[in-house]
């Protein structure tokens, strides 16, 4: 598959602050999650991808084009920025329509597309209200609407789920899935990892401006197979449960939690732990009431990778 985004030794500084250190990565079509903690360089990478900034070093192509000031690329690109900024004097519909007009659409076409986009993000009832009266989530969805309204080949969304209530978050995730089904690639960033995980298996992990890992969650897990998997347990008698689990061969550590009744188990073989746990817990009679394995979650992967 041809990569839609290719970065090679990409670097960008803000004065003496490193926004992006030395990033080499290829992103293929589909939905890709760009994850990393705050300050990892996700937003800088996205600003480079959409041509808002120029790299200080290295090379970057998006849809085979150099992004900065590239009008041909901007026809194929939709960008939902992180900053909560809109033209406050406009309604949501006007905002999306006027930006569509800049893309070359006629007034009538732009209006139809704007309405369609606002409906798609669930703002059809509010689209004729001024955006300065919108809630944070509505503003976020308006930003998303302008990014998808013109039917781009690639949507780049910086923290698009921030500020959304659970229903809107679900709608937005569905929207991204829908875009992908329509053949549109999506690159979205998040530091709330489970949100990305629920949307895509393909992730790019960035930390301190560098690529930490790339691939599916399972690929990344394989890369770090030397690290243990973690299971959080809640039990009436956690000490008894710990004593019962300790003889298992694959158990690496057991830690009693700060909260009463909690303990965290680290195991080198999560599958073996899963099959043995029920029997051990039953025979120990420790009253297990909670079991949370984050074996495959991005949170666990990320925690392990960044130490």
């Amino acid at each position: 598959m041809t990569a839609i985004i290719q970065a090679e030794n990409l670097g960008r500084w803000y004065g003496e602050v490193v926004g992006l250190g030395d990033l080499s990565v290829e992103i293929e079509p589909g939905i890709t999650g760009l994850v990393g903690p705050n300050g990892a360089g996700k937003s800088t990478f996205m600003k480079l991808m959409v041509g808002e900034l120029r790299p200080a070093r290295g090379q970057l192509t998006v849809l085979d084009k150099v992004p900065f000031g590239n009008r041909a690329l901007h026809r194929q690109l939709g960008f939902c920025p992180q900053q909560d900024a809109l033209y406050e004097h406009q309604t949501g519909r006007q905002f999306v329509r006027d930006l569509l007009r800049l893309g070359g659409w006629s007034r009538r076409e732009a209006d139809v597309l704007a309405v369609r986009a606002m409906e798609r993000v669930g703002l059809e009832d509010a689209m004729d209200r001024k955006v300065n009266g919108y809630s944070k989530g509505m503003r976020q969805r308006t930003r998303l609407a302008q990014a998808i309204a013109h039917g781009p080949k690639l949507v780049i969304a910086d923290e698009p789920l921030t500020g959304l209530d659970p229903i809107a978050r679900r709608q937005t995730l569905d929207l991204f899935r829908g875009l992908a089904e329509d053949g549109c690639s999506v690159v979205l960033s998040s530091h709330v990892l489970h949100e990305v995980e629920s949307l895509t298996e393909t992730i790019v992990l960035i930390h301190r401006g560098r690529l930490l890992a790339q691939g599916s969650v399972r690929d990344v897990r394989r890369l770090i197979s030397r690290h243990p998997s973690r299971v959080e347990l809640v039990a009436r008698d956690p000490r008894r449960l710990a004593t019962a689990l300790l003889p298992l061969e694959h158990i690496r550590t057991i830690k009693l939690g700060a909260d009463p009744g909690t303990l965290t188990v680290e195991t080198d073989d999560i599958a073996a732990f899963h099959s043995a746990f029920a029997g051990v817990a039953a025979s120990a009679g420790a009253g297990v009431s909670g079991f949370k394995s984050d074996d495959a979650s991005l949170e666990a992967v990320f925690d392990y990778l960044v130490g």
Binding site: R71, H74, L77, P81, L86, L99
Partner: protein, 261 residues
């Protein structure tokens, strides 16, 4: 679409997008108050002051010292500086810059929206002064009034354009633009001798200083300068405007605007 067809189209769309918000902005509201100053002064001069100097002289002094030298630069800076600076401050510049339009159109469209508001304010202010001073004894002639108001509008174009360019280049450009307009320009324009030729004010005054009446000829004495022909002056102001436009467009096309998240 190529650049030559896309630039005017996108400029027009940006202009329309921002005209209403520019007209209703705090900058414009402050501009209304500022624009009211010259007519107020004219009224005071013609009523309380008794207009013993004659309408034309009052118009000339108010026109040159207040309208042209203070109000036009001040409004030009206040309204012009926001062309790109307001977009970066509000962090909305991402939107037009990720659209398939020439970046220069954002600069041009927003500046033109500011310019229209500015022109209306300056025109109202100048016409107000002219109307108040025209009716009195020794009132100014319509030709002289038109020439000075015309020069004021040209001043608005140049100062707002200069401020817009400064706003593109510098992050906190307002201080620099005001410094230029009210320190550098005022100093140069009022120092007797050829140093005046380094100021915009000199060329702006040259546009109307060749009036027929003694009052208008006295401007040369008052300014302690030898003004050039109005056509030569217009030519230099046009070149200045063209250079500023080119610098603004090129800078906005090449510059990276780093926005805080």
């Amino acid at each position: 679409m190529n650049l030559l067809t896309e630039l005017p189209r996108a400029t027009w769309l940006i202009f329309r997008m921002h005209l209403a918000s520019t007209a209703a902005s705090r900058r414009a509201l402050a501009g209304i108050l500022f624009a009211a100053i010259p007519p107020l002064f004219a009224f005071l001069a013609m009523t309380i002051g008794g207009s013993n100097e004659g309408g034309e002289r009052v118009f000339m002094y108010l026109g040159v010292l207040v309208l042209l030298q203070v109000v036009a630069p001040a409004l030009g800076v206040f309204l012009g500086i926001g062309a790109i600076a307001d977009e970066t401050e509000a962090r909305t510049i991402t939107y037009p810059f990720t659209r398939p339009i020439p970046r220069a159109s954002v600069f041009l469209g927003r500046w033109m929206a500011s310019l229209l508001v500015l022109t209306v304010l300056l025109l109202a202010s100048g016409a107000g002064v002219a109307a108040i001073t025209m009716g009195a004894e020794g009132g100014t002639s319509p030709e002289a009034a038109t020439a000075l108001i015309g020069a004021t509008l040209i001043a608005g174009v140049l100062y707002s354009l200069g401020a817009a360019v400064i706003g593109v280049i510098f992050k906190r450009g307002q201080v620099i633009a005001l410094g230029y307009a009210f320190a550098f320009e005022v100093m140069l324009a009022n120092i007797p001798g050829s140093a005046q030729k380094l100021s915009l004010q000199y060329y702006l005054r040259s546009l109307f200083a060749g009036g027929d009446s003694a009052d208008w000829r006295s401007l040369e004495v008052f300014s302690r300068a030898e003004f050039i022909e109005s056509s030569a002056s217009a030519e230099r102001l046009l070149i200045t405007a063209a250079v500023l436009l080119a610098v603004g467009c090129i800078t906005v096309t090449r510059k990276q605007f780093v926005l805080s998240s």
